[in-house]
Symmetry: D2
Subunit: 260 residues, 4 copies
């Protein structure tokens, strides 16, 4: 059987995908790609009125939800509403960076403790909350053609692979997210839920509507040394479609010219 | 752009693929899948007259080559012949286990030293030879639509992740292969060659022509706890098609119920 | 120069050591060993009136401090008081497990979210607070004979190496602690502060006053498969005494019969 | 019990130590330190007539043996002779770099295949041979006061942690050595033999008889960014003396200013 025919049959299943985090990079690329592949797609963000999300709704039928993903009740409610509106998710992506403003490049002794706890809460505790609700939903799903009840993907960062200087809070949050993903994978994969941790070992860059290139790190030259979120989304979709006979847990993505 | 259209345009390129190692598992699955996706495919094995390889030729037009991959001159000649016959490879898979007969479960003090050097030679030195010739060929390729001059995939094993007791020789060979793959990745990826190390953290099992399940480890029950080589081949193809903006270097594949 | 003479000259320096966490295992062993080796020793615990800490004071002159190590102000005050009372610490050990009661073996969907945030706060956020105050103090120290301004040791657990099923919160906390330690090491080692992460890959067991063996995990047989805290303390002392030419960052300690 | 008294009682045991590899750096530092701590010490080298080894004999009573450690028969004979001359080793150090002349900084396509197999043979196959003979000897030892039948230490390099570009052969050899050490540790530690892998993540530098500093990498400035072999030897001795309740398997040593 060729890949194409696999995709057609998959598309007919009309899987539901939920993306938590609503930026113009990976979240938007995922929403577009999943919709193009026949899924019903929901995106949750603190502010769902952002133009980039409105465009996703208009062009791709993506549903938008308001959610502070670091609040247990808000995350529980989000999943309830998504299930009610478009069905039980088969694919959940947690795509929140979580660093608070002002924390970048602060040395260990400069950083304010509340910034640390807030970064951990935004990035890692929210990943727990989303992962827990995803598991609750998915354990009730029937296995699909690949033997899976669902897929949970955590976007992660270089800081999950290596704790950098002047970056203690983010190192803590990203490592915590990796620990969560590992624990979930060992617990849930034998129950049919595919859990994946995807550290993007690079800055993210993408093409804007006007054709120019955008990227997240101010001051970085826009060149090939940026991971393209459309290609990251492709990997997430492939992970979702892997047969349970051969699940990948961790995939580090980096541009060809990146030092590591 | 959808995945399907990407595949069509990729298929039209008629990439050349060379698989070194010719067993009925991963090598055969790769040969079939690559041929089905429009590539010209060559397989090299110590004994290319095996029925499984003859079938690949008959059904899928796969070219067969005799090669002892642990011999420098033989590997150099293999690449010459493949280039001459079907063109310069864009995708090279090294898929050799290399353990010599009788080495399984030998304790450290029981194993004969020549078995150790032969296992390292079969599994790891051959990977160097194949990787070196692949690089020589591919550095002359033009970048394709994904920005790649070529892809080199090394099949690896659990022993690359963890040195098991009573398995020193295989631990050495698999770790050496990982070291090679890392060094090649850091050297060649910035030159446009995608290098990937794929440890399969499981025994391999597949469906035989008569519909029964086969697997490599005698005495293992055939159940879900076996990696299906058709799905492994899918991952290799996806790695080959990754855009250079987001290359994965290491992907560990394991069945859903595997302990790790 | 022999080890013994090194030790004598070190002892004469009268380093100040602060141990945060006050249990009868590693903390007590460290306090005893550091005092026996000529250091002035402080121990901080939520409840400093525990008999085991009173004994340390009586027999070894150890100072006791009350401190909730997950409170920024409390940790800042602790360091002020220790500096005022016995001098600026050269060796700080963070030895807090942090798991809240009732969290053990809870599956992902059973665990209450507040338990997760509290475990992270107790175990990992407190490590940040202690590490930050330690750095503030030590950066003002003159280098000692080994070229060090001070040493910060984080006790860690198996869950830092591997996220276990039904253990998401602890996996998150221990991974976060590893991320913190790495970030601190890369930032502070070039400034003369030795940072070490020491995952103990085993349950802890020790000999009680009455000669019987105690250990932390109810239901575990007391046998050789327990790490002896007196020997763990020896490793911490050796880390503190390493010359800056050859600093170890991570040391995993496990009993000889432990599976890994 | 203080460290000092532990050392005295250890010294009285008169352990036998064998160091394979005979350079002026780590091997010489180990020989001196072990002799000063009361051990009977043997050093094996391809050329045991080097002045640095003669000095070790004259000043420290170190026995010298000729041995090509990549030859099975030669290694077997070495152990026979050491046992006959000074007793069964309790501490064996494998300290061979193994890179052949001319291999440094060769790109993947420049390096000659025989250089690769010779580097693997010198560095990794010799480690297997030494480890196997060490195990054969030590399994017959009675446990000492720390519960150990013996200790095997493998000196390793940065290339064991990371495969560098233009360094495929050394990456393979060092990774193979790590795989060997892991397999041996999992097999032999439950039988009472402590196996340790010690990657030195730095160039090595030491003080020569005339007081000047020497180091292994031509063209490297002599500064603090060099690991001092006297301090490396201290770590090896501490590993040998660790109680089996708390064995470290891998210890990476790097200078305080090293980037990692």
């Amino acid at each position: 059987m060729t890949e194409s025919s696999t995709h057609d049959s998959q598309a007919s299943v009309q899987h539901v995908a939920l993306i938590v985090g609503g930026g113009p990079g990976i979240s938007s690329s995922c929403a577009r790609l999943f919709a193009e592949n026949g899924m019903r797609v929901a995106v949750a963000a603190r502010n769902p009125e952002k133009p980039v999300l409105q465009t996703l709704e208009e062009k791709h039928g993506v549903r938008r939800y308001a959610c502070d993903a670091s609040e247990p009740a808000a995350v529980a409610q989000l999943f309830e509403h998504v299930v009610r509106d478009i069905g039980t998710p088969r694919l959940v992506v947690h795509n929140i960076d979580g660093r608070v403003p002002g924390i970048l490049r602060k040395t260990l002794i400069e950083v304010d403790p509340p910034m640390v706890s807030e970064t951990i809460r935004n990035a890692a505790f929210s990943a727990f909350l989303v992962g827990q609700q995803a598991a609750r939903c998915m354990l009730g799903n029937e296995p699909d053609a690949n033997g899976a009840r669902g897929t949970v993907v955590f976007t992660n960062a270089s800081a999950a692979l290596k704790g950098y200087p002047s970056s203690a809070a983010f190192a803590m949050a990203c490592h915590a997210k990796s620990g969560l993903a590992q624990s979930m994978a060992r617990e849930l994969m034998p129950q049919g839920i595919h859990v994946a941790n995807v550290p993007i070992d690079a800055a993210i860059g993408w093409t804007q509507e006007d054709g120019s290139r955008a990227h997240r790190l101010a001051g970085t030259a826009v060149d090939d040394n940026l991971a393209d979120p459309d290609h990251i989304a492709q990997t997430y979709l492939q992970l979702h479609r892997q047969h349970r006979s051969t699940w990948a847990f961790e995939v580090v993505l980096r541009p060809w010219v990146e030092k590591w």
